[in-house]
């Protein structure tokens, strides 16, 4: 009875009811969305961190190192030698997963690693094939979609520095496969073999055989000195792959981070201990602790938003109460009529309560759908934020 009359009243003036409901929804949306946003942000940040047991890297900011190892943050920290990975492997305490992510292709981070990375993150192929040789790449699901490339296409690395005329050329990569969607930063990355990443960095390269191209080339102690007619290859093909080679000590080739997957908790503790106060300054970190510290930094922001929300909600409630009070005054004769017809005061109160509950409920429902739906739709963006 009360519900029927309340609904009839609200339905009789749809415009007025809609405005009231939308005002309440608008007031509630920000606090709900804000609260949900922080929950999702924390969850996203911690989930990735919890799935990465140990990160080893150069001296510097732990946060920079962890964010780079987890999210391939665009400004990589310093470098560590690839020999650190051998050291971890040789210790028997953990499985090393190297990461060298200093360059981009189509704006997406190029992550130089080994096939162990895909096992560690448990990422399979959606289509195509895995990395097979130098110059191959596999793309994260979202990167492939955004760049519009498929297995069989090619993808060029972005120039390092357009003002560095003597620098290395961009390398055209052969797209071998596209990874399954993981809804993680891996979806946005371009994965290459570590050696390919070093070629993009200019540590290795391939070029024409100087002796063949330039018979007048001068032979020196270190090799040939030749003219400009010797071409440097910008794409690794089956024909020229043999010409690619590296210069320098392979043990010193760089990584930007090293993920270590310990055998067990004890092995993790021992591994972490090995990287305390080292002469080379390398540090080993537990990402979950570093990210938890970062999440702690969000607390003041969260509190400020909570305070603002409380004030807004208070003002909105006061306004709503004023509207209800004015409405009740305008409807006094309606309630008197109901009473004169035999309607109990309790039913009249129930009608008012139902109307308020319906308006607040509808407002809350819309606010919930908009804010929670909005946050869900923005998960990708939140992940980017988290990175």
């Amino acid at each position: 009875m009360a519900l029927r009359l309340a609904w009839a009243y609200l339905r009789s003036s749809p415009g007025r009811t809609l405005i009231l409901v939308l005002c309440i929804a608008a007031t509630l949306t920000l606090p709900i969305a804000g609260a949900r946003f922080f929950v999702v942000l924390e969850r996203e940040m911690l989930a990735r961190a919890d799935g990465t047991p140990v990160v080893i890297g150069s001296p510097g900011s732990p946060a920079d190192l962890v964010l780079h190892a987890l999210y391939f943050a665009p400004s990589p920290p310093g470098e560590l030698p690839v020999s650190a990975a051998d050291e971890v492997r040789d210790s028997g305490l953990a499985r090393p997963v190297p990461v060298y992510a200093r360059f981009t292709a189509g704006g997406r981070p190029i992550v130089g690693t080994t096939l162990d990375y895909f096992d560690f993150r448990n990422i399979g192929l959606d289509r195509g094939a895995q990395l097979a040789r130098l110059g191959d790449c596999v793309l994260g699901w979202e990167a492939a979609r955004r760049l519009g490339v498929e297995p069989g296409d090619t993808l060029a690395s972005d120039p390092h520095d357009i003002f560095d005329l003597g620098g290395t050329f961009p390398i055209r990569l052969r797209v071998r496969g596209v990874l399954q969607r993981t809804r993680s930063p891996d979806d946005h990355a371009v994965f290459v073999d570590l050696s390919t990443a070093w070629i993009i960095a200019g540590i290795g390269h391939g070029h024409d055989d100087i002796a063949e191209i330039d018979p007048d080339a001068e032979r020196t102690d270190q090799g040939y000195r030749s003219g400009a007619q010797v071409r440097t290859h910008t794409m690794i093909t089956d024909e020229n792959i043999e010409s690619f080679h590296f210069h320098g000590d392979p043990d010193t080739f760089p990584l930007t981070a090293l993920i270590a997957v310990p055998n067990d908790d004890r092995a993790r503790a021992l591994l972490l201990a090995r990287f305390v106060s080292r002469a080379d300054g390398l540090q080993a970190l537990r990402p979950s602790l570093v990210v938890a510290d970062l999440v702690e930094m969000l607390v003041p922001v969260r509190r400020a938003l909570g305070g603002y929300s409380a004030v807004t909600a208070g003002v909105a409630l006061a306004l709503f109460w004023m509207i209800v009070a004015l409405t009740l005054r305008l409807r006094r004769s309606e309630f008197e009529t109901l009473h004169d017809l035999g309607c109990p005061r309790s039913t009249t109160a129930a009608i008012i309560a139902c109307e308020i509950a319906m308006v607040l409920g509808l407002g809350l429902l819309i606010a919930g759908v908009v804010s929670l739906g909005g946050v869900e739709l923005s998960r990708g963006w939140i992940r980017t934020m988290a990175a």
């Binding site: 009875m1 029927r4 009359l5 009839a8 009243y9 339905r11 009789s12 003036s13 004769s333 309606e334 009529t337 109901l338 009473h339 004169d340 017809l341 035999g342 309607c343 109990p344 039913t347």
Partner: protein, 230 residues
């Protein structure tokens, strides 16, 4: 329904108006008009009989029930199921359509909650009153006559034993006045209900079995000074 009023005394607190009518006995099925000048207490007595107001002293009996002695909750229940009320200014609820306005007392009355009965009873009355075609209309779109017909249907829908009408023709043009009063009397007769109508219009009085003139027969006062002196 038989109505008896005995030794009734009522005063609005702080308004200097008191009502003390002589004993009154209205036979079942009688059609009675309350006439008299404005402020003479006609509407107050009507509201006392309906149990909307409670007397300071004395009793109001509806058949064997002393309505003035009932609790507020009991009077409300009694009113919802046994008394039909027609107001001068119609007092239809604007957010309900005509049909739902007529059904309202049925929904309020515990005795008439059967869904089918609610649906058919209201439409029967609307049909008999010639406004079934307006069943889905909102009250604000109706003419004055249609509004009062709706109000009469609302008063009759619970098949009450007593119908109280407070100046039901006060806002109507002469042609509609006689039509509406005719409808009210006819419907009351058909329902075998007692009818009490408050009216200023002497031209309507011949339609009633009995006329009670508040200016001559009832002990009342309008003047605050007089009431206080008394």
């Amino acid at each position: 329904m038989r109505i008896r009023v005995e030794n009734l005394r009522f005063a609005y607190p702080g308004r200097g108006f008191s009502l003390g009518p002589p004993p009154l006995d209205i036979a079942p099925g009688q059609r009675v008009a309350f006439v008299g000048p404005s402020g003479s207490g006609k509407t107050t007595l009507l509201r006392l009989i309906a149990g909307i107001l409670t007397p300071d002293a004395g009793s109001v009996f509806l058949d064997d029930t002393e309505i003035s002695a009932l609790s507020d909750r009991e009077r409300r229940r009694y009113r919802a199921s046994r008394i039909g009320f027609v107001f001068q200014d119609f007092r239809l609820l604007d957010h309900l359509d005509v049909r739902e306005n007529v059904r309202l007392p049925l929904r309020l009355s515990a005795q008439h909650r059967a869904r089918d009965a609610i649906a058919t009873r209201a439409d029967e009355l609307l049909d008999e009153s010639g406004i079934l075609t307006k069943a889905r209309a909102r009250p604000r779109t109706l003419s004055q006559g249609e509004k009062q017909r709706t109000a009469i249907c609302r008063a009759l829908v619970t098949r009450p034993g007593l119908i109280l009408a407070d100046e039901p023709t006060g806002n109507l043009d002469p042609e509609n006045k006689s039509k509406i009063l005719g409808l009210l009397i006819e419907r009351a007769r058909a329902a075998d209900a007692t009818l009490i109508v408050v009216t200023h219009d002497e031209s309507l009085l011949p339609a009633f079995d009995r006329v009670i003139d508040f200016a001559q027969t009832l002990d009342q006062s309008l003047d605050p000074a007089q009431s206080e002196a008394r």
